[in-house]
Amino acid sequence: MTMSIDEKLGVDKIIVDEENAHIIIDKQYSDDAEKRKLIKICPAGLYKMEEDGGGNLTFDYIGCLECGACRAISLGKVVSGWNHPAGAMGVEYRMG
């Protein structure tokens, strides 16, 4: 039985920085191919197409595993800002 990505992330210890988003995306960015890339590569499934069929991208930094894949793919395109979360914030691996 496979678990959903939300169930998987639910197992992790993540200290959410409610005040600061460490990744900022440009919701106006219009190239669909670029959006599809992000949907494929984000291991946490945080990039999604909005379900209204309008082709808009949604993104939530909560659940980010800080891998940097979206930065390497799309910095300056969809990803307009990317930093490591502030000290002591974000994912905390207990296994690693």
């Binding site: 502030a86 002591a88 905390e92």
Partner: protein, 428 residues
């Protein structure tokens, strides 16, 4: 934080940063290691296997004391199609001989232990602080800025991993190119010791390292891995980031499909997921190595792109140790001259250049190009598995020899293609 000036500030508490801090503190230098996570190792993941030779040189007998999971006694490689497989199982006492030995590790506890070793030599660890910027005066790196506070040092060592934003800021490193990195995902799945011993044919502290190629990455350059821990397994996939972004399936789905494969499903059956993690892995060899030294600054470990991905063998942790050793020696020599300019710290690159780390990376550059051949991840595994599977099939009608099969496969792929690839193998 403190107003005093330190000899060395190390940014990042992974393998590279903790080992560099250990070596420098041991020689009496004042060392501060700044880690953005709440403890060394809290942000780090790896596939699982540390080749011991280099850490053994730094801390002889480390494996008796460190929180290692299992010692690798057994190696397996599988080629997968959607529903078929061929597995090679190699068990040899050679794997356990001192100098050849390798250990499965979980980084949260392993790096933490390394950090404690550095502390026991007098290094100070400041965890839970992200280094936001570097202090640069007169073209020389003079310290760090974290949370608005400044801290000065003669040398700053950037051990901040594959996403080294600091080396980029200094202009020492270019932003990562998607074709130069792989993205890896991993699940740690809890099983009992008994289940692990039984499923993998192990006993005591024996461990198994297993790599998987073929259908599990949907033809994308990359592979699957599985390592046995004491009472869990680490299982995951890596895919070249560029190829993944051009492919047809999301990484999350590839990971699910991999675990549902008939070879893999029984291995994870009934296990409990205890962690899901992701990380980038440099995989472009020498062409992604940044500028390694500057005035008052050195770049080591993954931040310097020092990972060697040979498919069935991934080496990054052992190379992180080597780069830490070279950096520590260069800094000690610079300290004896009280000269921390680029020309003095260049010694780091000179040492690295003659080390096995760089020599292996350079020697493997051709191999890396070869590894980009897409046939390696779909057509060839399919061909090999198919041929071997048919070797065992008996049915009515005229029996086919394996040679008929080979000829048929060669025709299907094109003789020229195979000839060219064969030549490429010979050149390696």
């Amino acid at each position: 934080m403190s107003d005093d000036k330190f000899d060395v500030i190390v940014v990042g508490g992974g393998i590279a940063g903790t080992v560099a801090s250990y070596l420098l503190a041991k020689e009496g230098l004042s060392v501060v290691l700044v880690e953005r996570g709440n403890f060394c190792g809290s942000k780090n993941m790896t596939g699982g296997r540390l080749y011991a030779y280099s850490l053994e040189e730094v801390m002889p007998g480390f494996a008796n004391e460190a929180p290692v999971e299992r010692k690798v006694f057994k190696e397996r490689i599988s080629l997968l199609t959607m529903d078929q497989s061929v597995t090679l199982d190699v068990r040899s006492p050679k794997f356990a001989e001192s100098g050849n030995d390798s250990y499965v590790v979980l980084r949260s506890s392993f790096d933490r232990w390394l950090g404690e070793k550095a502390e026991s030599e007098g290094a100070m660890i400041v965890a839970g602080y992200r280094v936001d910027d570097l202090i640069v005066r007169d073209d020389k790196v003079c310290g760090i800025i974290s949370n608005g506070e400044e801290m000065d040092a003669d040398v700053v060592v950037l051990a901040d991993g594959v996403n080294s934003l600091l080396a980029e800021k200094l202009g020492m490193k270019k932003p990562l190119r998607p074709e130069h990195v792989a993205v890896g995902v991993k699940e740690v799945i809890q099983l009992t010791r008994g289940e692990i011993d039984e499923r993998f044919g192990l006993s005591g502290d024996e461990g198994c390292a297993w790599s998987f190629f073929g259908a599990n990455t949907d033809g994308i350059q990359g592979g699957g891995f599985l390592y046995t821990n004491k009472d869990s397994i680490s299982i995951g996939l890596t895919c070249n980031l560029q190829k993944l972004s051009e492919g047809s399936k999301p990484l999350m789905q590839l990971m699910n499909d991999f675990q549902s494969h008939p070879v893999v499903a029984p291995l994870v059956k009934g296990g409990n997921l205890i962690e899901y993690s992701a990380h980038l892995e440099p995989e472009a060899g020498a062409k992604m190595i940044p500028q390694l030294y500057g005035n008052g600054v050195l770049v080591i470990g993954d931040a310097a792109g020092l990972t060697l991905n040979l498919g069935h063998k991934v080496r990054g942790m052992d190379l992180a140790v080597i780069s830490a050793q070279c950096a520590a020696q260069a800094i000690l020599e610079a300290k004896s001259r009280e000269d921390f300019t680029a020309s003095s710290l260049r010694k780091y690159k000179d040492l690295l250049d003659v080390s096995s780390a760089i020599q292996n990376i350079e020697a493997r550059d051709k191999y890396l190009e070869f590894m980009e051949n897409p046939l390696l991840y779909n057509a060839y595994p399919l061909m090999i598995v198919d041929m071997l599977a048919r070797l065992f099939v008996v049915k009515g009608g005229r029996a086919q020899t394996i040679f008929d099969d080979i000829l048929k496969n060669i025709e299907a792929l094109g003789k020229n293609q195979i000839e060219n690839d064969f030549k490429a193998v010979k050149k390696l």
